[in-house]
Symmetry: C2
Subunit: 395 residues, 2 copies
């Protein structure tokens, strides 16, 4: 059994979220990820989120399967070590603002001369060129500019962002996909290349029918909150002890839904004879359905409707979602021992490989913990330079 990215060496210059998520995805697949951090505070995320026993749980969750080396990249010594790492690496990942890598002396030409087999991946807000390339990137702004926010929220609310920084994460995942594809090209040609994912582009690619309908018609999309923009009944209904989410997405599923709630007769009601009519009389329809749904509990409806083939669930809070039997079955909440800081719980692996499953080989690293180990493993000729480049070794 061999991990997909076994023997792939990654020089990780990323910080905060989108880049570290990308390199964690590579590490989860077995890559040897060397996180380069400044000798002072390192990745700012080390200081953010809930700190438990002196360690950021947020940092822990996005930096497993990595090792940390401290280099002062403003110093000649630090640059020399980085150059040697780059010569020995397969992949370089960065999420600086476009141009920063160049300013560090790592121009395309320099990287090419150091290592023509290197894959250089960049994650940014808008792209590495073009009118907005120099704007600082931030998820909330990417959600706003991309059009994503304009599609979220009810018709009476303003556009609403997703609470989670979805554009960071989707761009990180696209980058990981691009990197593994570029590795495949290199297997065939022996040559590296540059890959890039922008946060705005990444989330745009996920607009589904909103994009295709708008591009075909020019019509503005309808912001419909938790209701379906073009199908009824659909949305939240009130069971006796709380809401249920029901999505009868086709006529066939609608038949099953109406049968299970004892309202098959609505099929004969002229007000509800077609989807267009049901959209028109949605308020009346919802009242009738809610009367029936109120006669049983959330749990019973979820069981009954799903058994009948009707997609149904509840809006779970994180507490419920993370203790849900299916979540546990999928091992989506894992506990990782961090020596000196205890066990830290985090999310598991969303993509399951039967023969080479992702696993936690390493907890998130202490700041600069692997200076000596990496010098040894990567057989760095300039290892003597490392010492002066890392005044704050903690391990």
């Amino acid at each position: 059994m061999v991990a997909p990215l076994a023997n792939i060496k990654v020089v990780d210059l990323t910080r905060i979220l989108s880049g570290p998520f990308c390199t964690m995805l590579l590490g989860d697949m077995g890559a040897d990820v060397v996180k380069i951090e400044g000798p002072d505070d390192g990745d700012p995320i080390r200081q953010l989120g809930t700190i438990v026993n002196g360690f950021s749980t947020y940092f822990a969750s996005f930096n497993r399967n990595k090792r940390s080396i401290t280099l002062d990249l403003r110093s000649t010594a630090g640059k020399e070590v980085l150059s040697e790492l780059i010569q020995k690496a397969d992949v370089l990942v960065e999420n600086f603002r476009p141009g920063v890598l160049d300013a560090m002396g790592l121009t395309a030409e320099r990287l090419e001369s150091l290592n023509p087999r290197l894959i250089v991946a960049s994650i940014n807000g808008y792209g590495s060129s073009g009118p907005y390339s120099q704007r600082p990137a931030f998820d909330f702004i990417a959600q706003a500019m991309s059009g994503f926010m304009s599609l979220n929220g009810g018709p009476n609310d303003g556009p609403t962002r997703s609470g989670v920084p979805i554009t960071d994460l989707v761009a990180g995942l696209y980058s990981a996909y691009g990197i593994v594809n570029a590795l495949r090209v290199r297997d065939l040609t022996g040559r590296g290349q540059r890959i890039e994912a922008a946060m705005v582009d990444s989330i745009m690619s996920m607009f589904a029918w909103y994009a295709s309908d708008h591009l075909a018609t020019g019509n503005p999309p309808v912001r419909s909150g938790n209701r379906h923009p073009i199908a009824a009944p659909y949305g939240m209904f009130a069971a006796s002890d709380g809401g249920i989410a029901v999505a009868p997405s086709t006529e066939a599923v609608l038949d099953k839904f109406l049968a299970e709630i004892g309202l098959s007769n609505l099929r004969d009601d002229p007000r509800f004879a077609s989807n267009a009519l049901r959209m028109k009389h949605r308020a009346e329809l919802d009242v009738i359905i809610n009367e029936r749904v109120a006669t049983d509990t959330q749990a019973n409806w979820i069981s009954r409707l799903n058994r009948a083939g009707v997609p149904c669930g509840v809006v779970q809070e994180l507490k419920e979602a993370f203790t849900d039997p299916q979540t546990l079955h999928q091992e989506m909440v894992i506990s990782v021992e961090h020596p000196g800081h205890g066990a830290i719980r985090m999310l598991g692996f969303p993509v399951k490989l039967s023969d080479t499953p992702c696993c936690v080989r390493l907890p998130a690293p202490e700041h600069g913990a692997h200076n000596a180990e990496i010098a040894e493993d990567w057989q760095l000729a300039c290892r003597d330079l490392i010492v002066s480049a890392m005044p704050k070794i903690t391990a």
Copy 2:
């Protein structure tokens, strides 16, 4: 120049969205994707979304770079053709409800005996085993059950779904990532394996600090709408001609923001001396900032603030986002000629590879257009069976 997935043959049994998105991502990287459709209506998406000149623009947007073959998989002939395709393929992708592939006779053992090098990828709602595996999958329900909805919306709104079916798309992308990783393992070992991504797991993996904070503390996350849950100022402010989104994410960026709007003196105001105090006095702070922001236009603030290093943008509607100069520069809206139906506009490629860029080799296929072509290209021995398996050849 060789595409990353050149020479990779994909048997595509997927339909609707999550699976077709996955196989389109593979096709965009150069894979030979053969979309298997029933001889009757084919992928239901062919009938949905805006139809232009007899072709669904929604279908077009998620099925480029594929060819279509019609097989009646309930017939012996259809099953025989599928078996031969599987023998000659590298990857099989499906998004049926768990168990359907088995019921079709394609058990793990059967697939293994047909082709031990095959990578079998499954995309589903909850996972292929566990208490909810038999529930029908649907994006809205996955958004609800995963906890995603509970993080979206303002403190006074209920939990809010994302308008776009984000769990379908993220699961599709994770699957594509898993497949390319599994191809890498196969390059090393000669063996295929099964990969799987569930919609609920996929979106959960993107909860960032909400997940790590909750798992560390047990505290319920704050649903804060367009405001930042733990930083102020942050959010929407009112320029003279409309709102601007501003994200001063660190103290250093906040300094830049206050300087640019001429309010550096607020740093000396004891009400705003720390982030905690600013959160407490957020309403007052927002009033003061809005007074200044109202003195200039959206466009000017966007230009001024970004130049000063403060992430800033506007909430763009799709019309604005898709005609934005940066979007055009990134070639994120492309036009693809569909013979017989004219040009259809769709979103471009979010991950850019410098040497082997994604491209549209093929428009989305007519239903069953490639029966003969695939029989020839894949050198199918049982090509005679195809004729009887596809009564509705259109090409």
